[in-house]
Amino acid sequence: MSDQGGLRSGLRVVVQEAPFDFGAEAERFAAGRTDLGAVVTFTGVVRDVAGGLEGMEIEHYPGMTEKALTEIASEAQARWSLGEVLVIHRYGKMAAGDRIMMVATASAHRQHAFEAAEYLMDYLKSRAPFWKKESAGGDQSWVAAKDEDEAALDRW
């Protein structure tokens, strides 16, 4: 807990292989904080872009992953007035439709919560050490990083 612009600020970062319960996490997030009027949640889901996705496997860098996510979330806390921040990101094997990750931000007003959630997403897409590998048609291929994901960081 730290003091963020007058708000008591909590940060939770979770990196795990197991699925997470989005409903329970959303329910628990910032529960009891009557000073926070805005809660934003974002969930990333395994997408079958071309059809025929047999699965996805996410590799990560144990140790650096937790560190990078905490740094990104701490920077969000420094830039916006946030009461609570949550980042959950999975690794390992997943199927189309599975939830990969979620972020949640809570603030007194919605602008801070929305902007901070977008910032978290932009940064953890290209600055957190995760790599996606897709299986389709019996072949496996690493998902290439997109130029626009890198460009998205410029707006911050």
């Binding site: 590799e59 860098y61 990969i100 990750m101």
Partner: protein
């Protein structure tokens, strides 16, 4: 001795996730040159450095970063989280 880690296709191309390397390389780039001189699989993995990212002691950095005092260097493609 320094721990060198590889992730994603870099790991696959080199054929192992982690190794200990005896090196006196002053920078990441110098370490890459030493590795490339070892075997063809390293040459293949490090052929295009613009396609790679590097972390020293779990912090993203550049290929000209110094290695003095570093315990761990990791090479990997651009990250695809989220």
């Amino acid at each position: 001795m320094i721990d060198v880690l590889y992730f994603a296709w870099v790991r696959e191309r080199i054929g192992l996730p982690k190794e200990k390397i005896e090196t006196s390389a002053a920078t990441v780039a110098a370490l890459v040159e030493e590795l490339k001189a070892r075997e063809e699989r390293y040459e293949a993995a490090f052929a295009d450095l613009s396609a790679l990212r590097v972390a020293v002691d779990q912090e993203l950095t550049d290929f000209d970063a110094p290695l003095a005092g570093a315990r761990e260097v990791a090479f990997f493609p651009p990250m695809t989280g989220g």
